[in-house]
């Protein structure tokens, strides 16, 4: 697993440097939503490695090396989790540091919004990776863009209803806490199902 992760990190090379710069720049920019960009970018990194793998026919060689299919598939998810985790953690650190420098109380709103974006990023990764494993990097990416656009349009269309319902939940005593728990549980279940599906789809590519 460590070997596979290292391969992806070396493969990303310049992109990793750009990623580090991005999380630094977006984290220090004013406004909570800015760090969301670096977190979302982090979730896209496994996609790039799959494109490099496909071009080099790495999967053919990897299938003959002492890697299990689960390791090959899970390493992509792990790369995404680590990248999203790093970007989120960095955004927390910067927000806390700024609050301390300003001698102002730490804003929980910023921390929670980064956490929600991180959850959303891993959800997108869970939707995207099985498609990538089945359809390949190029077609998988197109389908991913279509799904992301459709989801965004759905959210925009129903945003009023959603916002009202969200506020209703948040206004109930422990509503926020319950919602965060529900989101995390849903993300865990979807990611587990996504990994299981990806392993099946990845295996089906070798005929």
């Amino acid at each position: 697993m460590k070997g596979l992760l290292l391969k992806d990190i070396y493969t990303l090379g310049k992109q990793m440097k750009l990623f580090l710069v991005l999380i630094l720049v977006f984290a220090v920019m004013p406004g909570h939503s800015m760090s969301a960009f670096s977190i979302m970018y982090a979730a896209m990194l496994p996609m790039s490695t799959l494109a490099y793998d496909e071009r080099a026919k790495w999967d053919t060689l990897a299938s003959m090396m002492p890697y299990s299919t689960t390791d090959i598939v899970f390493s992509k998810y792990l790369l995404g989790y680590l990248a999203v985790g790093c970007a989120t953690l960095f955004s927390f650190i910067v927000q806390i540091t700024f609050s301390l420098l300003r001698q102002a109380p730490i804003e929980s709103e910023g921390i929670i919004s980064s956490l929600i974006v991180a959850v959303f990023a891993t959800l997108l990764q869970a939707i995207d990776l099985p498609m990538q494993f089945k359809l390949g990097a190029e077609r998988g990416r197109i389908l991913f863009i279509i799904i992301t656009v459709a989801m965004t349009m759905a959210i925009v269309t129903f945003s009023d209803t959603l916002t009202n319902q969200l506020f209703a939940i948040l206004n109930q005593g422990s509503g926020l806490f319950l919602m965060v728990l529900l989101c995390i549980a849903l993300t865990l279940v979807l990611n587990a199902a996504s990994i299981f599906l990806s392993v099946k789809l990845y295996k089906s590519n070798f005929k």
């Binding site: 290292l6 391969k7 070396y10 490099y52 053919t60 060689l61 090396m65 002492p66």
Partner: protein
């Protein structure tokens, strides 16, 4: 012990079938698997590594059934060289070393570096900038740096100039000096096989037409060149392929099946394989 034992292996694709393949690679020897492009050589190698599912048959590699989970550990003992390097091209040999250290338990950096030096491969250059010869040498360096007992090479010398090919073949020859080391080499360059192989297998349209010791093959077969009229006296069962020329008939025969009165000429592997393929086409 046999390094590889394949029994009744079958794999079917739409429009192609690898049928009932039986093949043995004795430990300590080099087996060359010849065949035209698309004959089924790469499919066989993938099946040996259990990289694709089979329809039927069994495969034992280094004494282990390749479909049981323990085969993953056996892969530590197998060095793979495919027709390209197959690593993402932005990686450098130095990067690959770090990756392989966490892939193969017996990865030996000292051996790897000695191969990089021997092949004059730059450690820090992404190998997208390597020539084809350099890429193949790099793949061979990787395959040999984790103390493998078996090397599986798929068209490892195709597209290389004769100097580089010769250098690479010497390495494979050196590798089998250890009696516990074996090589399975798939290629359509017959002259390479003639140089280094102990055994020759020939796959044609998914069927294994022969698998024998190279020296025995060369002793067993001969070429006769006769007029059309004289050729009629050659026993048909002795003929293993023929071609008609403007001067008469040129045929591959088994020495033991023809009279010593016929003018027999020594043959080479390429002729044996071409005649056998022609006979199969005629059938």
């Amino acid at each position: 012990m046999n390094a590889i034992e394949i029994t009744n292996l079958t794999k079917t694709y739409p429009g192609f079938a690898l049928s009932n393949l039986n093949l043995v690679l004795p430990e300590g020897s080099i087996l060359g698997l010849a065949g035209e492009n698309g004959a089924g050589k790469s499919t066989t190698l993938k099946l040996i590594m259990n990289a694709i599912p089979r329809d039927s048959g069994t495969i034992q590699v280094l004494g282990t059934d390749n479909q049981i989970p323990a085969f993953n550990a056996v892969k530590e003992d197998i060095g793979i060289v495919l027709d390209e390097a197959y690593f993402p091209e932005v990686l450098t040999p130095q990067n690959v070393s770090s990756v392989m250290q966490h892939t193969y338990q017996r990865w030996d950096n000292a051996i790897y570096n000695s191969y990089l030096q021997r092949f004059a491969l730059p450690e820090k250059k992404p190998f997208k900038d390597f020539s084809r010869g350099m890429k193949m040498k790099f793949a061979i360096a990787v395959a040999l740096s984790h103390a493998p007992k078996l090397l599986i090479l798929d068209e490892a010398t195709s597209g290389l100039d004769p100097m580089v090919r010769d250098e690479i073949l010497d390495i494979f020859n050196d590798f089998t000096r250890d009696p516990g080391h074996s090589v399975l080499l798939s290629s359509h360059i017959i002259s390479d096989m003639e140089k280094i192989c102990d055994y020759i297998g020939f796959i044609h349209h998914g069927k294994l037409l022969l698998c024998e010791e190279k020296d025995r093959l060369l002793e067993e077969y001969a070429i006769v060149k006769l007029s059309d009229q004289d050729f009629l006296s050659v026993p048909p069962e002795a003929v293993h392929g023929k071609k008609e020329t403007t001067y008469g008939v040129e045929a591959l025969v088994k020495r033991t099946q023809v009279s010593a009165a016929f003018p027999l000429e020594h043959t080479n592997l390429e002729d044996i394989i071409l005649f056998l393929a022609r006979k199969e086409e005629d059938v």
